[in-house]
């Protein structure tokens, strides 16, 4: 009987503590960060980084959209209508590059704050092992059904494009005047035959008839494969085509009130399988070259 009484008391204490914590939390929410406009901080979050921003909801005003959509809007905007943008590199640099060419002021005067990194991966059959980006392009121009998000209009798609072309030139130090007929043929060959999907990895796992392989962020791919039933992933391998492309999530600000967001975003990404930034080069072409590539496949 005493034991039962003790248990009831213990439960009451726990419930009481939870209620007290809830009240404190509620109070905390009332002192949410304030943006440069005097209202709640407005964060635009790239769709592919949703896992990072979900934890901010309630504290700040979060809007999700594809990085490419945000970039296109910001490229000509006079008022960015955001206080912070959570996006993969080099999208912020591409925005300011485009603005500079149009004679507009840069939006992001401060250096982007790196949050986390992951690699660009391909999930495909074992026989793709050792096939680099150039090889993948060759194969995708033929029988290989390679799934990707849209190359020109999605955040990951543009990174896929940049990675693949870096493979063709065997490194990131090339310019648009290196685009010769051989390159044009190669690029056109696979980009036109790409199987476009908003979620190519899920599509691959839903039916192999749809796709042979799919491009995905390493962190996302690992989580998806881990959750999939064994029959769905049989014969598939997580591959890192050479030269290995790294995707870095960053926080860029245009206003105040975003100082404490970076740590929370980084923690959320780490929990989702991303790695801490290490300062190494991303081995991506220059922003101007990526903008040019994007218009080529648009």
């Amino acid at each position: 009987m005493k034991r039962l009484f003790a248990a009831v008391i213990a439960i009451a204490l726990i419930v009481g503590a939870a209620i007290a914590r809830s009240v404190l939390d509620d109070d905390g929410a009332s002192s949410a960060p304030v943006g440069s406009g005097g209202d709640a901080v407005r964060v635009v979050c790239a769709d592919l980084l949703r896992v990072a921003c979900a934890g901010l909801e309630g504290d700040v005003e979060v809007t999700y959209e594809d990085a490419a959509v945000t970039a296109d809007r910001l490229a000509t905007a006079t008022d960015p209508e955001l206080d912070a943008w959570v996006a993969p590199m080099p999208w912020p640099a591409m925005v300011d590059d485009t603005r500079a060419r149009a004679g507009a002021n840069p939006l992001f005067s401060e250096q982007p704050r790196p949050l986390a990194r992951t690699r660009l991966a391909v999930v495909g059959p074992d026989d793709l092992e050792g096939c680099g980006w150039r090889c993948l392009g060759d194969r995708a121009a033929g029988e290989l059904k390679l799934g990707s998000r849209p190359l020109a209009t999605s955040g990951i798609g543009v990174l896929t494009l940049a990675a693949a072309v870096t493979g063709w030139f065997d490194g990131p130090t090339f310019a648009t005047n290196d685009f010769d007929p051989d390159f044009e043929r190669w690029l056109g060959g696979w980009s036109r035959r790409l199987e476009v999907s908003p979620d190519p990895l899920t599509r691959l796992l839903q039916a192999r008839a749809f796709l042979d392989a799919a491009v995905e962020l390493e962190a996302t791919a690992e989580a998806t494969l881990a959750a999939a039933s064994p029959d769905r992933i049989a014969g598939l391998t997580l591959l890192y085509p050479a030269p290995v492309a790294t995707v870095e999530a960053v926080l860029v600000s245009t206003g105040a009130g975003t100082d404490d967001l970076a740590d929370r975003l980084a923690s959320a990404l780490e929990a989702a399988g991303w790695r801490a930034p290490d300062g190494q080069s991303l081995e991506l072409p220059s922003p101007g070259v990526i903008v040019a590539l994007r218009s080529k496949v648009r």
Partner: protein, 603 residues
Amino acid sequence: MRRPVGVLLLFALLVALLAACSDDDAPSGGAGPLLGDPGDCAVIDIAVSSEKIALLQDFAADFNGSDRAELDDGCVFVNPYSKSSGGAATQLGLGWPDEEGEGPRPEVWSPAASSWGAVVNQRLADRGEAPIVPDSEPFMLTPLVIAMPKPMADALGYPETPVGFADILELARDPEGWGKYGHPEWGPFRLGKTNPNFSTSGLSALIAQYYAAVGKTEGLSLEDLARPDVIDFARGIESSVVHYGDTTPTFLNNLYRNDARGASLTYVSAVAVEEVSVISYNAGNPDGVLDPGEEPRPPRVPLVAVYPEEGTLFSDNPFIILDADWVTDLQREGAERFGDFIQEPENQERVLEFGFRPGNTAVPIADPIVRANGVDPAQPTRTLEVPAPAVMVEALARWDAQRKPAKVLLLVDVSGSMGDFATSDGQTKLDLAKQAAIEALDQFKDEDEVGLRIFSTGLAGTEPSDYVDLVPFGPIGEQRELLASRIRSLVPTQGTPLYTAVRDSYRSMQDDYAADRINAIVLLSDGQNEDPRNSDLQGLLTELGSANEGQASRPVRLFAIAYGDGADTITLGQLAEATNAALYNASDPASIRRVFTSVISNF
């Protein structure tokens, strides 16, 4: 870039050809008060393609009233109702103007294939309006297959020997028929496929058929369709068609009935259906719907799903929360909850139980999608690319010309009860039927031969006195106006000599059987046999049934429309089933236009 290979992206132009289509591959039902009273909860109407309505209503029954349906701003109540994908696409493209006739304007839409969403957005764009259908994830999938009775698939050597549409053409054209494979007793090769203007399966089959003809899996072009060998191929396939129709269950129900009599191999050799239909059929539930008191009983001869060698298409069943101004925040949040609910692994297990492939990849593709049920989880290995819009339009236009021609007798009951009022503005049942029949005449192609016979007791002064041929058979292209004029002038008269009219019409169709056409009678009746001179139903059924069997059969299908609440639905159904056709229920006279459209889709 390739367009995503899904199912039939460019229905837009197809749908534009249809004012009202039934689509999908199970009979459409209604919203029905199956889910109870929503009380004070916000109702979320969900338009669902007919083949999955039972599943979605199951989910709704679990969701409504649960904690998941309780939101901060109130509770929600989801209401899935059956609506064909084509019909919903048409309505959404117009802003859903007719809730009374078309069902409630939905907040969520789940068509058979996600490509229907592109159709709606395209239509809205054409009118300068914003898109309302966002990209949405499929929650279950099922591929198009060629379903064959197992002995026939075995005779072709499937699965060891791949089978495609090309093999079917070869069989369809071969005068030896199944004799080529050592089974002359099975007669000629008979193909069942639905009308691509109405059915997702039918359109998928048409695309697959054209790809097979040109030996491609992508890039079907206008030039391809115009090739003489491709035209020849298409005509060859169509020539083997038993009849068309708007839904696949018509074929499967007929096959199942024949199977019960040990005659399943003589009705149809292959039917283009979704994989899920093969599973349902083999489980003894051919139309996927268990009526009250019905027990699933496996057929004697199971079906085998043949995955066409050339590739196939998927129905991917998206869950679409519409970006429309009539969707409130509460409804949107509630819909998201329900969308998450149906993606939960335990509910995806139920998707699997219904024979669909789960969209959630955490759930394995397992029983009942196993070889023992006639399907193969490792198939298909190829999908086909959705053709470009202009190619789709051309393919459909060519199908209209290449499909098997028909010889159809319109047999119309003009007994006195057809003069009963059917609407509040004084229109009679006959008035409504006449309008519907005249409109349906446009669905026939010019070379179809159509005749018009009316029946009622004492109609003519001389024998036979119970029916009169108002328009003799002739190409409808030459007598469409005449038929319309005669139909327009019909008036209600006396009793209903149903058996005599059917018997004599059937005999005359047999006598003048056209082997290169679909031979059929479309019977419209609102009553029951009232002729004391002929009450031998059993004798009539025997006569109708016997003429449809055997290698030298001369099948004449009798498609019956039970019109109004006084129609003898049971007898009409028996008459239709005896000829391996179908009964169409128009007990609500207001539905007669839709029903006529469905019936004529068989030709």
